[in-house]
């Protein structure tokens, strides 16, 4: 039984991997960006766990900046992905412009809160 579960897991992993290779490059770039943002957030959380949350506003602004930009990147990915039927009519350049604008606003707020 155990063997079959691990084999199932391996099969699942392989199938996911092969499917992923087929995704277009721009989506992969966006995925990479999301991973980068999340990792940065995790490192900040680990640091806070280590030294304490003294300037709590700074910690929050750092973490929320990463998470926020990750969320915006996910939105961009959804809008740019050609397989999504809802966003068929939306030009990817428009989505990118929205992404840039939202990021700028987010970072203004973050910098203000950073202190």
């Amino acid at each position: 039984m155990v063997k079959s579960t691990t084999k199932d897991a391996q099969d699942l992993f392989h199938s996911l991997r092969s499917t992923y290779v087929a995704t277009p490059t721009n989506l992969k770039i966006i995925d990479l960006y999301v991973c980068f943002a999340v990792f940065t957030a995790l490192i900040q959380v680990a640091y806070m766990a280590l030294v304490g949350s003294f300037p709590f506003n700074s910690f929050l602004s750092g973490v929320l900046s990463c998470i926020g930009t990750a969320v915006l990147a996910v939105c961009l990915r959804i809008q740019v992905n050609k397989e999504n039927k809802e966003f068929k009519d939306l030009a990817p350049e428009r989505a990118f412009a929205d992404f840039v604008l939202c990021n700028l606003v987010l970072h203004l707020v973050i910098i203000n809160f950073l202190g």
């Binding site: 490192i43 304490g52 412009a97």
Partner: protein
């Protein structure tokens, strides 16, 4: 001495007796003179302005103080300079002439005089306001006084008189000029002095009816006089922003009246009690602190001292305490306001009312004897029933025969508070410890309160302490002292004070220790006894340590109040206090610097990972437009985003939100245009590719 004369007929008592509080006014004395030297002689040897010089020199002259010669010479130089120049103002010319009148400087040729005279005459002709009239007319009067033989004419005197008179008001006050509706009592003085000057320069030309209307105006002015309770009268300006104090206003009215009366042939009928009241007000000021107030006070008193209508006389007492033990007489002085001798008169003590029995008088109608050497009146014999205590003496001045050149006036009655003191005898002083139930005496000691004793008593909480003594006045009446305190002081410095009550027969204090146990904080032990007896009329007030008493009190129960902690050093409250140690908020513990730097490095790692991943994925910028037309917007777009991010960094570093928002909005608008251009070009390019 005056008693035998019998010719007491010119009694110039013109009004009702002055009611209210009694007080003593002293005429100008040497303390005024020494203060005047301090106030009016400048340290650096010269005066700031001619006005100041005039005020100072006039005051010193009235008080009879010698002026220093170098001061005079320096001021004289100033005077000659002003009189010589043709461009000095009327005010400067007026004050220069006034100072010259006091110092009598040598001015040189008479050429100077003609210039001054013509300047003043021109001033009179062209005067628009009261001050212009005042300076020019009074200046001409001063020139006439100082330089005899000069020909002065002020033109049409009657027209000038009328034009000044238009500035008067019905309520007695005067305006400063025809355009200025503001009126004041001070302006009235300027007006009267100016009109007096006009009259003296051209005495035959003024119509008597005009002068008569002026006199009624003066009497109207007196309607605005104000009064204090002690019988002093004064003038004060009604307007709120007046720069004149009551002293200067009152002084100015007096100066104006006296100068007007001096130039006027018929007398001025002014109410006498008000003149005395005004003199008392000015004397009651004492020594003023301000130079201007000092000058005003002395100048007005000098006018009152020597005027044609009424010279006030002041009754003063050098000492208001009669000591029955020393048997000194009560001295009374009568003089003018500046301290010069009064004419022949007699002083009578009409009543001496004791503070205890206010309806009957102890002394009635006693004539005071006159001592010619010291020019004082004295009373040396007091009736047998004159005991110690507080009295109000009422004096009356009766002027002698009418062969006086000046008309003197006095108050109808002068009330003076007098204190009579004497030696109080203390008899039958004794202290005893009694048993509370039966009242029987356990121990009794006689006391001699004039010296400290060493009485030693002991008592417990069931007993009483009794202190009694008798105080008798010199006449044998029972004396009730103002203060009679009995103090018990414990070894631990805790003190208790009790009042000794005086009844009709004796003074007695009974301390019942049973009731006082809690008040004494249950402290047993040795208590020192101290007795204090004092009164204003008692010449031998005493504070004596009688001895000590051992008190045996029960134990303190739990809830009883503790005695207050005695601060042994009561004077340490004036020394420096303990240093305050401020407790600041403990700063938060920050992590070590190395740890923070390690994590900074760790943060950069994902970014590096991102870049590596990008290269592995094969990300490129091939779609970057190459043609110039499209490259520029694209470059500007990226540049714009970089600029916004840079602005954010600056915002974090030093800017504030509002400047940043301004910058962001500007860059945002720019980015909007450029970005739209770039992205639309990109979209067009990808559409072309798609369709192609």
């Amino acid at each position: 001495m005056m008693a035998g004369s019998g010719l007491h007929f010119v009694v110039l008592i013109l009004a009702v007796a002055i009611c209210g509080a009694a007080s003593v006014f002293q005429p100008i004395s040497d303390s005024h003179r020494s203060a005047a030297v301090d106030v009016f002689v400048p340290v650096d040897g010269s005066y700031k302005s001619l006005e100041e010089a005039y005020e100072a020199l006039k005051t010193l002259e009235i008080l009879g103080i010698d002026k220093k010669s170098d001061l005079s010479s320096r001021t004289c130089e100033n005077v000659v300079k002003v009189l010589g120049s043709s461009s000095s103002t009327l005010k400067d010319a007026f004050y220069a002439l006034s100072v010259n009148g006091i110092l009598k400087c040598k001015t040189g040729e008479a050429v100077l005089l003609k210039d001054i005279v013509s300047q003043l005459q021109a001033g009179v002709k062209g005067a628009k306001s009261l001050l212009d009239f005042y300076y020019s007319v009074r200046g001409l009067v001063l020139v006439k006084e100082q330089f005899s033989g000069t020909d002065l004419s002020i033109g049409d005197a009657e027209a000038i008189f009328r034009s000044i008179k238009t500035l008067s008001q019905t309520d007695g006050r005067w305006r400063y000029s025809s355009n200025n509706p503001e009126s004041s009592t001070f302006a009235a003085d300027l007006a009267f002095e100016t009109l007096a000057g006009v009259i003296s320069l051209a005495p035959s030309e003024i119509d008597q009816s005009l002068i008569q209307t002026l006199k009624t105006g003066i009497l109207k002015l007196f309607d605005s006089i104000q009064k204090y309770d002690d019988g002093t009268f004064y003038f004060d300006e009604k307007s709120v922003d007046a720069s004149q104090s009551p002293i200067s206003t009152t002084a100015s009215v007096i100066k104006g009246l006296t100068s007007f009366a001096a130039s006027e042939s018929t007398g001025l009928n002014l109410p006498g009690d008000k003149i005395v009241g005004l003199a008392k007000f000015l004397l009651g000021v004492g020594i003023p602190g301000d130079a201007k107030d000092f000058f005003n006070q002395i100048d007005a008193l000098a006018c009152l001292e020597d005027n044609r209508f009424s010279v006030p006389l002041i009754l003063s007492l050098p000492s208001t305490v009669i000591s029955l033990s020393k048997k000194e007489p009560l001295k009374v002085k009568v003089s003018t306001v500046l301290g010069s001798t009064a004419p022949a008169l007699s002083v009578k003590l009409t009543q001496a009312i004791s503070s205890r029995s206010k309806d009957s008088s102890v002394i009635n109608n006693q004539e005071l004897k006159f001592d010619a050497d010291s020019a004082t009146y004295f009373l040396d014999s007091f009736p047998k029933n004159f005991d110690v205590g507080k009295y109000t003496f009422i004096f009356e001045i009766v002027l002698d025969d009418s062969a006086n050149e000046k008309a003197y006036i006095t108050e109808a009655q002068t009330k003076v508070p007098i204190a009579a003191t004497g030696v109080i005898s203390i008899e039958n002083a004794e202290i005893a410890v009694l048993d509370s139930d039966l009242g029987s005496v356990e121990s009794q000691k006689k006391l001699d309160l004039t010296k400290d004793g060493a009485v030693s008593l002991s008592a417990n909480h069931l007993q009483k302490l009794r202190l009694s003594f008798q105080l008798t006045s010199p006449l044998g009446h029972v004396f009730k002292p103002h203060q009679a305190f009995f103090k018990l002081k414990h070894e631990s410095q805790v003190e208790h004070i009790f009042l000794v009550k005086t009844s009709a027969k004796k003074s007695e204090l009974v301390l019942d220790f049973l009731g006082l146990v809690e008040k004494l904080y249950y402290l047993s032990g040795k208590y020192e006894i101290q007795l204090t007896i004092g009164d204003a009329s008692m010449e031998n007030s005493l504070l004596s340590n009688i001895g000590h008493i051992e008190l045996d009190l029960p134990e303190r129960p739990e809830k009883a109040p503790r005695p207050p902690v005695q601060s042994t050093e009561s004077h340490s409250s004036y020394g420096p206090k303990a240093e305050i140690s401020h407790i600041f908020r403990i700063p938060e513990k920050l992590p070590a610097k190395q740890l923070s730097l390690v994590f900074l490095g760790l943060i950069v790692l994902p970014f590096i990972g991102f870049l590596i991943g990008l290269t592995q994925l094969g990300a490129n910028i091939k779609s970057f437009p190459s043609s110039a037309g499209s490259a520029i917007p694209a470059l500007l777009f990226h540049g714009g985003i970089a600029a916004v991010l840079l602005l954010y960094v600056l915002f974090w570093w030093k800017l504030d939100l509002f400047t940043t928002l301004k910058g962001v909005s500007l860059l945002g608008v720019f980015l909007l245009f450029v970005g739209h251009r770039t992205l639309s070009q990109l979209a067009a390019a990808s559409n072309k590719l798609k369709s192609a």
